[in-house]
Amino acid sequence: MANKAILFDATKCTACRGCQVACKSWNEREAVKTTCQGTIENPPDLSPQTWIKMEFREVGNNGDLRWLFTRRACMHCTDAACVKVCPTGALFYHSLGFVSYDRGKCSGCGYCSQFCPFNVPRLNTNRVTGKGLMDKCTACTTSGLDRIDNVDNVGNELTPACVKTCPTGALTYGNRDELITTGSAKVQQLIVQGRKKAYLYGENEAGGTHVLYVLDDSPSVYGIVENPKVPVAATAWENIVKPAGYAIAGLAALGLLMNVMVARINLRRKEKKEKGGK
């Protein structure tokens, strides 16, 4: 089966946020309680109930003022850290290339949220059991709410809800290699028009992602991490520790080891955040 992807062209996005509501509607997410923080951006963060949001950035001033809109949701890595570290297999690769998810298998360990280079997975907090379930965008592959494996009643391929609802074609869906071709062509066009830092993001980042971005500026201007890396620990975890752990000591020792690695990654991430950020 062909490898699919979503292409987000930031130059076509008008930040209508139809995608935010379409995702909630299709995936039966509830609205979260928000307050106006002094910008028009809301909700403030992804959450188990909010799988996609738009970020707003005002860049420049006076004559060269620009208002940039960044899509924020799971990037659907080809070589996903979250899939590597998930102990239960709740996170897995869908046949079309997206990172899908079975909530029924989630143990609430939170490792995925610690290792994701894009800081996407979010957990519920359950005060009673202490176990909260993770939730994130599944590119509409959630079992029971699966769009992209299906066709409509006249045979048209269905697309993810966000893509379908996007009015300007800022979001498109199709074969990943074709989207890379179109995306690259658009980037070339932007460069010719004077946007010298225009860039197609996601072709190779983090081993290649199934959500690609056409940007008319460098990713950091759009608040996107420039060199996302799947932490070595995750690979180690998947290839060495996990199997070894099962062999040696079972979950307890595993857990301990994980905590150590997680703590180190957290520290590094904290440092990075303090340097970067909006």
Binding site: C16, G18, V21, S25, W26, E30, V154, K164
Partner: protein
């Protein structure tokens, strides 16, 4: 959309573009479908036009079996203007009827009456409401009716009743309201065009 897929639609003139409507049996409406046997069945996909701005986008509504709840709403892929897309308001149309699996609690479901000086509404029947309205309209109209003005001209109007509405009404509703208002002799009538 290629014409070849739409031939049958052209012929019937009433076809609907498709979206799959899911009937998730036994799903917890809070959004955690567990082991669900899915039935891919269209449950009455009905086309509508969004009620918000004036672009006039098409949406397709899927209803629950008892036709009381909207279970899904998406852009109408056949509609030439929006071609399946919807802005957040259009996408949220579903919540006018259904919030988290129940009828939106803010929807009015019964006629209400507030007496002079009262601090609350009380529920009344439709019959009661209609009678009260007709009685008030007639009393005010007849008492203030101007058959001829000070210049002796037949003017047949009342300036004591105003009519508001409505850009949200259907054309047919607007038409009969316009007809009613004039028949009753109203001149003060407005809707939201200036707002």
């Amino acid at each position: 959309m290629e014409i070849s897929r739409r031939d049958f639609l052209k012929a019937s003139g009433a076809g609907l573009g498709g979206i799959i409507i899911w009937r998730a049996l036994g799903s917890d409406k809070k959004g955690f479908p567990k082991d669900i046997t899915l039935k891919k069945e269209a449950i009455g996909e009905t086309p509508t036009i969004c009620c918000y701005c004036s672009v006039g986008c098409g949406a397709v509504v899927a209803a629950s079996e008892d036709k009381n709840l909207v279970v899904n709403l998406e852009g109408d892929p056949d509609h030439p203007i929006n071609q399946g897309s919807l802005c957040p308001k259009g996408q949220a149309l579903l919540q006018i009827n259904n919030v988290d699996g129940k009828i939106n609690p803010y929807r009015l479901t019964k006629p209400l009456y507030r007496a002079p000086g009262a601090s609350d509404f009380t529920e009344i029947s439709w019959d009661d409401a209609i009678e009260r309205i007709a009685a008030r309209v007639k009393e005010t109209r007849d008492r203030t009716f101007i058959k001829t003005d000070s210049n002796g001209k037949t003017v047949n109007r009342t300036e004591a009743i105003g009519s508001f509405g409505g850009g949200e009404l259907d054309n047919e509703e607007c038409y009969i309201l316009s007809k009613m208002d004039r028949a009753l002799g109203l001149v003060y009538m407005e809707h939201c065009a200036r707002l």
